[in-house]
Every structure is written in structure tokens, then in C-alpha cells.
């Protein structure tokens, strides 16, 4: 049996707004193994992003337990979590979220500024990440000078530049045209196969989900058991 990377037990997230409460994620149990590529699918509002955010420690669960590489995330302080996230997690957003005033190179270099690397090493590593995503010739371009597909590839370079163990992607092709989406999916597939990265991707696109090694479905905050899907799928 391969190593367990993410272990979630009875994970629940409730959002309490003024007079009502929403259970965004309801008692989820999940085990992700090293090198797996999991696609998370489900209707809008079913709790996919919430689950992803909890795995990235971008949010804390209301109850339940989550540990990544054996590290119980609840035990860490905010500052420790920030550092932990920097080294262990690469996150890819649907809307790229590049810093508009920085070039592709500088955007990718950004997470490395929190490490001990010196400027030359940072540049070197950022350049390698950009070459890996096929943008070695766009180092000095700002986000505005790039197409959506290129922007998302820069964002992926930024997510992998610290060589994290886990890459989490929230609808990474959601804002892209079909051709760019295919490029991004191919890239994510390569990261999983060639670099053995553990990958969890939220997607609405059944075609996209096929690149994954496993598909898990959510419905109304419930993570359905393996092999089970909501009625409309």
C-alpha cells in the first residue's frame, strides 16, 4: 500500500451567517495516497472548494481532523501554517490570481522569497519552472501581456516552484478555451506522472476528470463513497 499523503476524518465545515448556518462540508472521510491524481466533481455549491481549502489549510474545519504527511494541521499556529503551506502545497486558482505588476518570472519567484534561497538560486529555479510549463521565452512578460492559457501555466509554475508534495487545483480550466484547457490538463498530467506529484483537482468538465486516476463526487456537502455519483452525472 502506497503512503498516505492526506488523511481526513469526519471533516466538517459550517459557515455561520447572521441567522442561518450552512454546512458546506458534512463529515467527509478521505484518504489520498502519494502519487494519486484525484478529480473532485459535483454540482455547484456541493463543497468541493471547501474541501480543497481545508486540505491546503487555507481554512480551518469546524470539526473533524485533517493531517497531511502525518502533520495534524489543527496543531499548527497561523504563522506555522503559512510556512507549511509554502513548502508543501502548490495551489492553482480558477482565475489565475497572478500579481499584475510583476512579470511572469517575478510572479513565479514570489513563493521562493519566503525561503532561504538567494537571488540567483531563486531566479534559476523560477526559470526552470517556467521552462517546464513551456514559457521559457516569456519570462519578462506581465500577466496582461499573456493569454489566459499562458497565465494559468505561469500560475502552475508558481505552484510547483517550491517543489511541493501536493498540488491542489480549483477548476484550473474553468476560465480557459478548449485548446488552452487541454494544454493545462496535459501539463497537470505530466506533473503527476513524470514528477510523481500528488494532485487533487476540482473540475466541472467530465473530459478533464478523465485525466485523473480517480474521480470522487460531492453532493450537498457530502463526499460520496468511492464509485458512487450523484443522480445527474
Amino acid at each position: 500500500m502506497s503512503n498516505v499523503v492526506i488523511q481526513a476524518n469526519n471533516l466538517t465545515k459550517e459557515y455561520v451567517r447572521a441567522e442561518f448556518r450552512v454546512t458546506a462540508l458534512d463529515d467527509a472521510n478521505l484518504e489520498v495516497h502519494q502519487g494519486e491524481f484525484i478529480a473532485l466533481m459535483g454540482p455547484s455549491g456541493s463543497g468541493k472548494s471547501t474541501l480543497l481549502h481545508l486540505m491546503a489549510a487555507m481554512d480551518r474545519p469546524s470539526s473533524g481532523n485533517i493531517s497531511v504527511f502525518g502533520q495534524n494541521l489543527q496543531a499548527l499556529s497561523d504563522a506555522e501554517i503559512a510556512r507549511w503551506r509554502n513548502t508543501h502545497i502548490g495551489f492553482v486558482f480558477q482565475s489565475f490570481n497572478l500579481i499584475p505588476v510583476l512579470t511572469a518570472m517575478e510572479n513565479v519567484e514570489l513563493p521562493l522569497k519566503l525561503t532561504k534561497l538567494n537571488k540567483t538560486q531563486r531566479r534559476e529555479q523560477a526559470k526552470r519552472a517556467l521552462e517546464l510549463v513551456g514559457l521559457g521565452d516569456r519570462l519578462g512578460h506581465t500577466p496582461r501581456q499573456l493569454s489566459g492559457g499562458q497565465e494559468q501555466r505561469v500560475a502552475i509554475a508558481r505552484a510547483i516552484v517550491t517543489d511541493p508534495d501536493v498540488i491542489l487545483a480549483d477548476e484550473p480550466t474553468g476560465n480557459l478555451d478548449a485548446a488552452s484547457a487541454r494544454d493545462v490538463l496535459t501539463l497537470l498530467g505530466r506533473l503527476n506522472k513524470e514528477f510523481n506529484k500528488t494532485l487533487i483537482m476540482v473540475t466541472h468538465d467530465p473530459g478533464a476528470a478523465k485525466t485523473a486516476s480517480k474521480i470522487r463526487y460531492l453532493e450537498k456537502g457530502k463526499l460520496l463513497p468511492e464509485g458512487q455519483k450523484p443522480a445527474e452525472y
Binding site: 487555507m58 497561523d78 504563522a79 503559512a82 510556512r83 503551506r85 495551489f91 505588476v101 510583476l102 514570489l110
Partner: protein, 386 residues
Amino acid sequence: MFRHLSLIFRNSLRNRRRSLLTIVSIAVSLCLLGLLVAIYRAFFFAEATPDQALRLVTRHRVSLANPLPASYMQQIKQVPGVKEAMIFQWFGGTYKDNRDPANMFARFGVEAEKFGIVNPEYKLSDSEREAFIKEPTACIVGRKTAARHNMKLGDRITIIGDIYPVTLEFVLRGIYSGPADNESLIFHYKYLNESLTGEMRDTIGTFFIRMERTDDANTISKTIDDMFRNSPAQTKTETEQAFGLSFLSFLGDVKLILLTICAAVTFTILLVSGNTMAMSVRERVREVGVLKTLGFTNGAVLWLLVGEAIIIALIGGALGVLLASGLCAWMRSLPSMFADLSQLRVTAPVAAICLLVAAMIGLVSSFIPAWGASRRPIIDALKYSD
């Protein structure tokens, strides 16, 4: 920490129009602040020149407007440590007309033969000094005034008295240059006194005293003032620098006025920039979520946002300081009316104070919104739209 400077710098130029407006408004206020601080320094902190330090001024205890008998001179001269004492009489009057400030240079009556001893910093050629001493109606003027009015040796200069009901006709016999004052007209007090009748005759405003050593200032002052304690006109003797300040206080509590304006300027600019800084922080909230996702801590994000405000404020502050020092140079060239502005300049400490105030403005105006943004949970920040 400084690893993020390039991002801070890039961000500060992001909304160019707003940054520019903020920079300009901070520059204008800091220029004003710089000028005020420079004035404050010139008045209250400028070091006395060696000549000033060797001079004492004796006046009426009550105020400058009360006259002293000219006869006090004899006793003052006897005080040990006094090298020379000289009548120094301010004469108002009008040159041509008073509408042009260039005509409002000061006029003083002195004892010409003592002038070189008491005020040696007024440089004059030997022949000019001799000509000045020899001729009862002679006068000398500073090089700036001479240049401004195109005065030449031998010219006749008429000053019509106002407080003194006399008209004095002088012949220009010398043009002096000094380290500070280069504007005044200096003439024989005797000529003025002989034109006067009644109460005004033989009474004067101030004695200027040249000491042998600066260390004696306190003892000499005390001796003189004690000497006249029981006379109808009591005296007050102080260093020339202290005298300059008490003359200034004639105009009101200058210190308090200056400090109040400084505080008002700082407070106003704080309100103005507080508003724009809050705006620019609001635009960064989403990015705060992204940075935190990449592993930036709350503290690092706070520093990014505050640093941006400080950089903008410092750019404005630096411009303001440059403007202020230009303004000081211009004011130094103006005819001086009430106060000696020759010391007015933006010195390194004045510039440092202004830049410090600028940095504080950046810090204080951005801290509260930046603190709020940096503490915002990642998920909230990422959803934030403005």
C-alpha cells in the same frame, strides 16, 4: 524583509494617478512643514556666530519701546570685561515710499568710531570706514541694498522720519558686506540726536556691548542690570541672540504659533492620506489572499501594505523637502523686515525631521486598514471584490 521591496515599489506605482496625487499633496504639506521647521531652527536653534556671542544688548527692562538715557553709556563702559559699548538706535522712517518692500531696509544710528570694534563683522574698506567716521552726515549701506537701489558712493539718501519727526539727509560713504545683514543703512547717531528736541533728545533704545570674553556674558549682564536697579529706567541686558528672540516675541508667541501650524499641517495631511491609503489597501485585499496562499504570513503582508504607504509618503516628503529648501533660498534673498532670515535653510536635521514625519504619515495613515486586511481570513480575502 527587504526581499519584498521590489514588490512594494511596483505596487506603489500601480495606480499612478492616485499615487501622484497623494505624493503631490504630501509634498506640498511637507514643503510647508519643512519651511516652518527651518524657520523654527533659524530662530531658536541657529548657533550664535563668534561675533554675536561676544555681544550683549542692553535695553529698557519693560520693553524696547521704552527709552534709556544715553548717559548710561559712561557707567556701562566701566564694567570689567566690557571692551566697548556703543549706542545702537533703530530709526524707522521712509525711504522713497513704503509700498515697495525693497525700500524697507532697516536704518540704525551708531557711534561710527566704535562701530568697527563692536560690529567688526561689517566689512568695509579702510578708506570707506575713515570717510564714514569723518563726516557727521555720512552713512554706509549693505551691499544688497546698494545693489538693489543702484546706490553709489557719494549718493545722497533721504530718510523721512516717522516716529522721529525729522528728515535725515545722508551721503553714502561706504558699502559694507557682512555674514548675515547686508541690507541695513548705518549712520551717525549724533546726527540724529542733534536734530531732535525735547524728550526724544539724549534717549536711546539699545546699547550694544562688545565683551573681551564670551564667558563673562552672565556676570556683565548682571552687573549692568544691578547698576540701574534703583534708577527710574531699569535695564535688561542679554546676549545678542537672546535679544533677537525677545524682539521676535514682540510679534507674539512665535514658538507656539509655529508649533501649532506644524501640528495642524501634519494632522490635515494625515486625514487626506489616510483616505487614499485606505483606498489602495482595499484594492489589494484579494491579492492579500493570494499572497497568504503562497505562504506569506499576516506580518509579511502587513509590512507589504504599510511599506507601500511609507514609500509613497517618503517620495512626497523628499519632494517637499526639496521645495522647502528652494523656498528658503528664495526667502534668504528677500529684504528682511522683522527677523533675520539669513540663517534660514533646510539643514540635514530639518530634512531628517521632515522625512521622519513623512514616514510616520505613511505608517499611521495605512496601519489600520493594512492591519485589517492582513488579518482577514484567506477565503474571505480571495472572495473580496471592490
